[in-house]
C-alpha cells in the first residue's frame, strides 16, 4: 500500500474515532434532532446542527480556494426528485431505527443492542436495493431535473463564495442570538458530557479534515451496500457478480491533495470507497466504545420490548433502501452537500424533515403506543 493510501486509511480511522467519541459524549444524534423537534418542540440540537453546517461553509470554501478539494465534490450530481423521495424515506427510517447511519454505529460501540439491530437492517435494506437497482434505474432517469447544475451557485451562475457569504451574513447573527440566549447548551448532562455547540464545532472540524484527506465528504452508506455484497457472496457468488449495482464503478477522481486516482463502487471489493469508508465506520464504532469504556458505561441491554427491536430493524431496512434511492445519507448531505449548497442535498433535506415528522408519528402510534 502506498503512503497516500496509508495516510487516508489511518486518517479516516482516527477521524472516525474522534467523531464517534464526540458523538457518544454529546449524544449528537441526527435522527433525534429532527424527531425531537416534532415530538417535543426541542430545538437545542437543531440549533447545534445549524451551527455545524454554518461552520462548514467557510471551511469548505477555504479548502476550495486553496485547491485542497474539488468543486463540486465527487459523487454529487444534478438534482432529481429521487433526492426528495430518498430524503423522505430516510427520515422515516432513521426515526424508526432510533438513529441514523452514523448514530447507529457510535451507539453500537456504546453497547446498544437496538443500534446493532438497526445496523443489521441497514445491511439488509442495502441488499434489498441491490436487487431492485435495475428497476429503479429506469424510474430514476425520468425523475431528473432539466439542469446540469450540481450546486446552487452553478444554477444561479454566481461564484461559489457569494451564496456562502450571503448565508453567513444572514445566519451568523441568528446563531449569535441563540448563543447569547444560552440556547446552544443544555442545563443537565451525564458524566463526560460535551455541550451541543462544542460538539458541533468539533464535528465540523472532523468533517472538513476528512473531506480534504479523503477527497469526498463524510459518508458511510455505500459501504453498507459493500457489506451486503460480502454477505451475499458466499451464498450466491454468480448472482452477486452479475448484479449491475455491484459492477458499477461510480467513484472515479484524481485526489486533489495527493494527485492519485481513486476509483470504487458498491461491490464487495477492497477499492477506494472501502479504503475511505471502512476505517471511518470502524472508527465510529471504536470511538463510541472508547467513550463508554472510559466512563464505565459499556453494558449491553437486551430488555427492550420485541416491538422496539422490530422498529429498529424495519427502520434500518428503510434507511438502507432510501440511502441508495436518494442517493447517500444524512451525514453526506448535511455535512457535505448542504454547506456547499449542493442541489441534491437541499432536496434531500427538504424530504428528510417531513420524513422525520412521519417517522415520529409512526413511532409513537404504532411502536411505543403512547
Amino acid at each position: 500500500m502506498t503512503t497516500p493510501l496509508l495516510i487516508i486509511l489511518s486518517g479516516q480511522l482516527l477521524l472516525g474515532l474522534t467523531a464517534g467519541f464526540v458523538m457518544h459524549r454529546a449524544d449528537f444524534c441526527m435522527a433525534g434532532i429532527f424527531r425531537d423537534l416534532f415530538l417535543f418542540r426541542r430545538r437545542t440540537m437543531l440549533y447545534a446542527l445549524i451551527l455545524l453546517v454554518l461552520a462548514l461553509m467557510p471551511l469548505y470554501e477555504l479548502t476550495r480556494l486553496l485547491g485542497l478539494t474539488n468543486y463540486p465534490f465527487a459523487l454529487f450530481g444534478p438534482p432529481s426528485y429521487a433526492n426528495l423521495l430518498g430524503g423522505l424515506l430516510f427520515g422515516v427510517g432513521m426515526v424508526l431505527a432510533g438513529g441514523c447511519v452514523v448514530g447507529s454505529l457510535y451507539r453500537l460501540g456504546g453497547g446498544s443492542s437496538l443500534a446493532a439491530t438497526a445496523v443489521l437492517g441497514l445491511i439488509l435494506g442495502s441488499l434489498l436495493y441491490v436487487e431492485l437497482d435495475a428497476w429503479w434505474g429506469g424510474i430514476a432517469k425520468t425523475l431528473s431535473f432539466a439542469t446540469a447544475a450540481i450546486t446552487l451557485p452553478q444554477l444561479l451562475g454566481v461564484p461559489p463564495w457569494l451564496p456562502v457569504l450571503v448565508s453567513l451574513a444572514l445566519l451568523t447573527p441568528l446563531v449569535a442570538h441563540w448563543w447569547r440566549q444560552g440556547l446552544l447548551q443544555v442545563a443537565f448532562g451525564p458524566e463526560g458530557h460535551i455541550q451541543p455547540w462544542h460538539a458541533a464545532l468539533l464535528l465540523a472540524g472532523v468533517a472538513a479534515v476528512s473531506t480534504v484527506l479523503a477527497g469526498i465528504p463524510l459518508g458511510v452508506t455505500t459501504s453498507y451496500a459493500k457489506l451486503a455484497g460480502y454477505l451475499m457472496l458466499p451464498f450466491a457468488p454468480e448472482h452477486t457478480a452479475s448484479l449491475g449495482f455491484f459492477q458499477r464503478q461510480g467513484f472515479n477522481m484524481i485526489h486533489p491533495l495527493f494527485g492519485i486516482r481513486l476509483t470504487g463502487g458498491g461491490g464487495p471489493r477492497l477499492d477506494s470507497i472501502a479504503l475511505i469508508q471502512f476505517p471511518l465506520m470502524a472508527g465510529l464504532v471504536a470511538g463510541g466504545a472508547l467513550s463508554a469504556l472510559r466512563l464505565g458505561e459499556l453494558r449491553v441491554y437486551f430488555n427492550a420490548p420485541l416491538r422496539q427491536y422490530l422498529s429498529a430493524l424495519c427502520g434500518g431496512v428503510v434507511m438502507g433502501l432510501a440511502s441508495r434511492l436518494a442517493p447517500a445519507c444524512n451525514i453526506w448531505h448535511l455535512t457535505g452537500g448542504l454547506p456547499v449548497l449542493a442541489l441534491q442535498s437541499i432536496l434531500f433535506v427538504a424530504g428528510l424533515v417531513p420524513g422525520a415528522w412521519l417517522g415520529a408519528r409512526l413511532l409513537t402510534r404504532l411502536i411505543l403506543k403512547i
Partner: protein, 84 residues
C-alpha cells in the same frame, strides 16, 4: 414499576429505544401530577441512554418539578419530585 416504602415509583427504562424513555417519563409525570404536587410520591427513573439524562431533567424542570441526576454504576438515576 415498583412502589417502595418511600412512596417512590421506580421505572427501569434501561435499554429502550429513543425517545421512549422521555415519553414514558412525561406520561408518568402527567399521570401522577396530583400525587407529585401533594408530595405523596416521587419518581425515580433508571436510564442508560445518555440523551435521556439531558432531556428528562430538562422536561421535568420545565414542568415545574425538582430534579436530581445521579450516576449509579453503569447507569443513571433521575429523581423527580415536587419543588421545595
Amino acid at each position: 414499576m415498583a412502589m417502595t416504602e418511600m412512596q417512590e415509583l421506580v421505572f427501569d427504562l434501561r435499554g429502550r429505544i429513543c425517545p421512549s424513555t422521555l415519553l414514558v417519563a412525561m406520561k408518568e409525570m402527567n399521570g401522577h401530577r396530583q400525587e407529585l404536587q401533594e408530595r405523596a410520591v416521587q419518581l425515580r427513573l433508571l436510564v442508560e441512554n445518555r440523551d435521556a439524562t439531558v432531556t428528562i431533567p430538562e422536561m421535568a424542570r420545565n414542568m415545574g418539578y425538582a430534579v436530581s441526576l445521579n450516576k449509579v454504576e453503569q447507569h443513571y438515576e433521575i429523581t423527580i419530585s415536587a419543588t421545595a
